[in-house]
């Protein structure tokens, strides 16, 4: 039983790490600010959740699990608010999103 939980938690940690790296690659690879925010969202939601759940399985039913749950809750409450503030400020500052038609024409730009 303990081995099964260990394996599950390792799988969660590894897949969480995978999502985190994917977000990092996306932030470098995507063409403009707004699309990069989607990649950052992958690390903030999927990556963080999988890694923290993996750690929760390692900790078992203790106060540590509660703290991990609180961290996850704070991250999931605050990250969309910060993203909204960022996107909204950028839009008001006149950062134009790269939309479909232009993006298809000159992909190498940006």
């Amino acid at each position: 039983m303990a081995v099964a939980i260990d394996i599950l938690s390792w799988a969660l940690l590894l897949s969480g790490g995978f999502f985190v790296v994917v977000g990092g690659i996306g932030v470098l690879r995507l063409p403009d600010l707004y699309t990069r925010m989607h990649a950052a969202g992958v690390t903030d939601t999927g990556g963080a959740a999988l890694i923290l759940i993996g750690l929760m399985l390692q900790a078992g039913f203790t106060l540590i699990t509660v703290k991990l749950l609180l961290i996850l809750l704070f991250l999931w409450f605050t990250s969309p608010t910060a993203s909204y503030a960022l996107a909204n400020s950028a839009l008001f500052d006149g950062v134009k999103p790269l939309l479909q038609k232009r993006g298809a024409d000159d992909e190498d730009e940006g």
Binding site: V20, V27, L28, A40, G47, L52, L55, L68, A82, D93
Partner: protein, 96 residues
Amino acid sequence: MFVAAVFAILITMALAIARAVAGPTVYDRILAVNMFGTKTVLLIAVGGFAVGRPDFLDLALVYALINFVGVLAVLKFVRYRDLGSAGPAREPGAVD
């Protein structure tokens, strides 16, 4: 296995720094710094487990909150050039 997760997080932090250096707009840099901050929270949590001291989680918790407040403060400064301003209720006509 913790080491693998720590490496993944470190790689992403490096990528975020690359984006913060590359820019091009100030918002890209803030996005990268925000991402760096959330990765710091994960790094502290996983690192605490890796060295067998899960009490580091309190630091991660505080970091999560400070990172959020910090990003909002920087955004407010960039937008209004004044941390004390209440800001206009809404800037008209900016979104079409």
